[in-house]
């Protein structure tokens, strides 16, 4: 039984956490692709930027002498999301809108987004240096241990407070997004534009407004995802740049332009990564007493060594592109 708890700790809990981050980031990428028709490469750095905004706000609050029972980052998160959304709008106005106005090809916008990536990273490193920061300098992370008093298990299921908050906030954000996309006029307009931009335009949808709303949603979700990731690990300038490819993998696996697809893709990739590096031999251990003498159980049955964890996302990505290029949920293909 201890082995199953070990599995839950290492695969289920970690997979949920990683999947939430990938899902939230993937939604941003998929929405920008659906509306603006280009692969927004700077999304990872928008996440890092959002995390730093939260960090600065949290530090300010702490400096003012405000204390709270939950991490300060969660309290300032709404404000940080608003600021990051504003920054995202500003980035679009300065960098992408002039290119769109010139009628540039999506490829040019993609290269432009790499310029934005480099500028954001450069600015973050200029202001904050290259070191790592932690949201938990003052108080340690709260650790929850849930004992499972059945089948004589001695280990406990462990998770930290930010992990719980992360999953709760992800569920809330996804619900809010769902309601927005299905109930509000603007949300419906967004979906229409993602399905067919030309048709949406001739049916009188205010495309400029839809573009702005897209950036607001993408920016605020990026801030959320970046902060979550920084709470779970540490905050550093290349925090989310390293996971921008799994994010694209999540968006593509789900079908570019499909918000629900990105959520499914995010969790799929998160769990796949965790399952691939998990040592399955541990689950075979309880079978040892009932096995015949001559069968020797292998000590390591991980599908790939831990160093290749991120590679799993790329392999899934490449396979998806080959077998079903439009993703599971039939995303945009043009």
């Amino acid at each position: 039984m201890n082995e199953i708890i070990f599995f839950i700790n290492n695969v289920v809990v970690s997979g949920l956490v990683l999947g939430s981050v990938y899902a939230l980031g993937g939604i941003g990428i998929t929405l920008v692709f659906g509306i603006l028709r280009f692969a927004h490469f700077a999304h990872g750095d928008m996440m890092t930027m959002g995390a730093f905004v939260t960090f600065v706000l949290a530090a300010l609050m702490t400096a003012l002498g405000i204390v709270a029972p939950i991490p300060m980052a969660i309290i300032v998160l709404p404000a940080a999301m608003v600021i990051t959304a504003g920054l995202a709008l500003g980035i679009d106005k300065i960098f992408y809108a002039p290119l769109r106005a010139r009628g540039a090809k999506p490829v040019t916008l993609l290269i432009g987004s790499i310029g934005v990536t480099l500028i954001i990273q450069g600015l973050i490193r200029l202001i904050f240096g290259t070191g790592t920061y932690s949201f938990y300098d003052l108080q340690p992370k709260v650790l929850y241990r849930v004992a499972v008093p059945i089948f004589d298990a001695t280990r406990t299921i462990n998770f930290t407070q930010p992990q719980v908050l992360m999953i709760v906030v992800t569920v809330l954000a996804v619900l809010a997004l769902h309601l927005f996309l299905t109930r509000s006029r603007l949300g419906k307009a967004m979906r229409a534009m993602a399905d067919n931009a030309d048709l949406a335009q001739v049916s009188g949808i205010n495309t400029k407004l839809v573009v702005r709303v897209t950036w607001v949603i993408a920016g605020s979700l990026a801030c959320l995802a970046g902060t979550m990731l920084a709470l779970d690990v540490t905050l550093k300038p290349d925090l989310a740049f390293n996971i921008v490819l799994p994010l694209f993998a999540a968006a593509i696996v789900g079908g570019l332009g499909q918000a629900y697809g990105a959520i499914a893709g995010g969790f799929l990739i998160g769990f796949a990564e965790m399952c691939a590096v998990f040592n399955w031999a541990i689950l075979l251990r309880p079978l040892k007493p009932i096995m015949p003498e001559w069968v020797e159980l292998p000590t390591n049955l991980a599908i790939v060594p831990t160093e290749y964890k991120l590679t799993v996302a790329f392999v899934i990505l490449v396979i998806t592109l080959l077998v079903r290029p439009t993703g599971i949920f039939k995303g945009a293909s043009s």
Partner: protein, 427 residues
């Protein structure tokens, strides 16, 4: 247009000369060698993107492959490895790999014996899994054995470095063929993401296959194709002179290779082959309907460009004499080269070379320039009583990333066709 190119090249020479007077001849000769190697890589990308319209974002992977190739070919032979059981075990792993490959290929032809549709898909998946298990069962113990014994890793073949560059090109051609067969059907954005994913896979492999590449432990010193500074010093040359002359010797080799390739590429483009490539790039549907085999031609151009990238990457590694798979970054080794091409002018070989030389110089001097600016600012703020800027060193060394970002943004905005744009001949 020719006048514009001449003026820009003249300015570039002046710029290099000016930087050279400030930094000294030893440093500028180092910069020149590296910038010519980068120019070769930019030329490779120009072939793929400027002429073929292929969106390759996996340049880093090809540079790493080139670097590995030159390490493997030119590093001295590791006697302890060849005396151990390692070669035997690796042989078995190779055999296992071939058996696995045979299984996968067999599954591809399963429809010949009546296994079709869904059943063939199931069979293909099973074949891949079986091949993976067979290969892992042999390679894992071999890798563990080699890393644990005295040998440590496979070592090199002790051949001439130029052979290593050629081997890098060959290896890259093979890999580019596989990637091209898989990915070239994808449209631009998807192709970019797929190639960047594959280059990350290549990086993960080369970084962690310690038995083959020594991973993050790094390999050095990798021999040079020309006499090293130490050799010249042994012949009685002054130390400061020896560095300049040996680097100039290396530069001569690089420039000869670059010039040769440049000449051949220019000839090819002026001819019918180049016209066909541009036709495919501009309108592949029309080109296809004229009877051109679009996919095969694109594969050809993808392989050709990748070969140049790998040769450039091999040159860089053998020049710096150290192979460190951990030092490769998409920012330094993929995006930098895209900036070179965008700024220089995609579709024009002169532009690609110009962009390569200019951007590499900018990239390298933005570090010391930022240092100087920052320390001046820091002195001012100290004088004003605000205190010095904390960790100047690390902050200013990151400034090159910001500079690169600004350059790419400004170029896209104000000179989207590059400084030396493509010349389109009509009639």
């Amino acid at each position: 247009m020719i006048r514009r190119a001449l003026i820009l090249y003249a300015l570039l020479v002046v710029l290099f000369f000016g930087v050279g007077t400030v930094l000294g001849p030893a440093n500028i000769s180092l910069l020149l060698v590296q910038s010519f190697a980068y120019a070769l890589i930019a030329l490779g990308l120009n072939i793929q993107w400027g002429y073929g319209g292929l969106f390759n974002f996996g340049i880093m992977g090809f540079l790493m492959v080139g670097g590995f190739a030159v390490t493997f070919v030119s590093y001295p032979v590791n006697g302890e490895f060849w005396a151990s059981d390692g070669p035997m075990m690796l042989g078995k792993a190779l055999l296992a790999f071939l058996i696995g490959a045979a299984l996968v290929v067999g599954a591809r032809f399963a429809h010949r014996i009546g296994i079709k549709g869904r059943w063939q898909a199931v069979l293909t998946v099973i074949a891949w899994i079986a091949a993976y298990i067979i290969y892992r069962s042999q390679i894992d113990p071999a890798a563990a054995y080699i890393e644990e014994t005295e040998a440590g890793w496979v070592g090199g073949l002790g051949l001439h470095p130029v052979l290593g560059w050629a081997f890098g090109g060959l290896l890259a051609a093979g890999i580019a063929y596989i990637i091209g067969r898989i990915c070239l059907g994808l449209r631009t954005d998807y192709l970019a993401i797929a190639t960047i994913g594959i280059s990350e896979i290549v990086r993960a492999l080369l970084k962690n296959m310690d038995w083959l590449t020594r991973g993050t432990l790094t390999v050095s010193p990798i021999p040079w194709p020309v006499p090293l500074p130490q050799d010249l010093q042994a012949d009685g040359m002054a130390i400061s002179q020896s560095f300049i002359y040996s680097r100039l010797g290396f530069m001569a080799v690089v420039v000869v290779v670059l010039a040769l390739i440049f000449f051949l590429v220019q000839r090819a483009y002026a001819g019918p082959w180049g016209r066909m490539m541009r036709a495919i790039r501009d309108n592949y549907i029309a080109a296809g309907s004229m009877g051109k085999n679009v996919t095969a031609r694109q594969l050809e151009i993808f392989i050709f460009g990748s070969v140049l990238m790998a040769i450039g990457g091999a040159m860089l590694v053998s020049f710096s004499q150290i192979y460190d798979p951990g030092s490769y970054q998409p920012i330094n080794h993929t995006f930098l080269i895209w900036v070179m091409l965008i700024v220089g002018g995609a579709g024009n070989n002169w532009g690609a070379i110009f962009g390569g030389l200019l951007i590499y110089l900018t990239w390298m001097i933005s570090d010391p320039v930022a240092q100087a600016v920052f320390s001046t600012l820091s002195n001012w703020s100290t004088d004003l009583g605000w205190g010095a800027i904390p960790d100047i060193q690390s902050r200013s060394s990151q400034m090159r990333v910001l500079v690169l970002g600004l350059v790419i943004t400004l170029a896209l905005r104000y000179a989207p066709k590059g400084l030396i744009p493509e010349v389109i001949k009509r009639g």
